[in-house]
């Protein structure tokens, strides 16, 4: 067989082995589940990215420039943190599975919740101020 037994780590380059911090390969179904969860976070990040750009690009008639910028930058920064954080989440889960330790908490989840709430709060304040 061309590729070495992945359980021994022989098929992996030294760099990958160092990034994964050794351990033993977990059940491949868990590795695939981790990958899908990572992709779900990436799509969340892409949705925030598209939302941020859409606010800036399509809302010129509705919002003033300051509000538009604020909402757009908040959404894009959230996309940045969720997108970058999703990789480290994936990596930390992979490492935990390889060492059979408890899975780390998803710290990007509260960030997403707080960020979403913050954007909503800015919108509520804007609507109230404009109505007054």
């Amino acid at each position: 067989m061309a590729d070495a037994d992945p359980r021994s780590g022989g098929g992996r380059s030294g760099l990958s082995a160092r990034i994964l911090l050794g351990g033993t390969e977990p059940d491949p179904r868990f590795t695939l589940a981790n990958e899908r969860t990572f992709l779900a976070w990436i799509r969340t990040s892409l949705a925030l990215l598209a939302g941020g750009v859409a606010v800036e690009a399509f809302m010129a008639d509705l919002f003033g420039p300051e509000l538009r910028r604020t909402i757009a930058v908040l959404l894009l920064m959230l996309a940045l943190v969720i997108g970058g954080g999703s990789f480290f989440r994936w990596l930390n889960v992979e490492r935990a599975m390889r060492h059979k330790t408890p899975l780390p908490l998803p710290w990007i989840a509260p960030i997403l919740a707080a960020g979403g709430a913050l954007v909503a709060a800015v919108m509520v304040v804007f609507v109230l101020v404009r109505a007054a």
């Binding site: 695939l32 589940a33 990958e35 990572f38 990436i42 990215l49 750009v53 690009a57």
Partner: protein
């Protein structure tokens, strides 16, 4: 190694390889949607927005071109009951999204609407 035609088969009733392949497919669709929205910036920001469109589309294309390899590696992983996690793919996609977000923030804050 069992195969049907050119495709290796596996005995996972949870259909993990197929679901993971579809998750990558949905991600390419999200990237194309993001690229379509970046298009709206092109009349205002020209080639700079074009770079964002190209980056998103190229990432989607790269994922699509490597889907078959990733699917087969997942099926082999199920067959052998061990697989090497695909660090290169996850790191590349996350890096691409981070770059798109940074360029997006730069566009909003520093490029005036023309």
């Amino acid at each position: 190694m069992p195969t049907q035609g050119n495709t290796p088969t596996h005995g996972d009733a949870g259909l993990q390889p197929e679901r993971t392949d579809l998750a990558w497919g949905r991600t390419t669709l999200s990237l194309v949607v993001a690229a379509a929205i970046f298009l709206r910036w092109m009349p205002h920001h020209g080639w700079f927005a074009g770079t964002l469109v190209a980056a998103a589309v190229l990432t989607a294309l790269a994922i699509n071109l490597s889907r078959r390899r990733r699917l087969h590696s997942a099926i082999r992983g199920i067959q052998q009951n061990a697989m090497v996690p695909d660090i290169a793919s996850t790191a590349a996609v996350a890096a691409s999204v981070v770059v798109l977000a940074v360029l997006g923030i730069y566009t909003v804050l520093f490029l005036p609407l023309t």
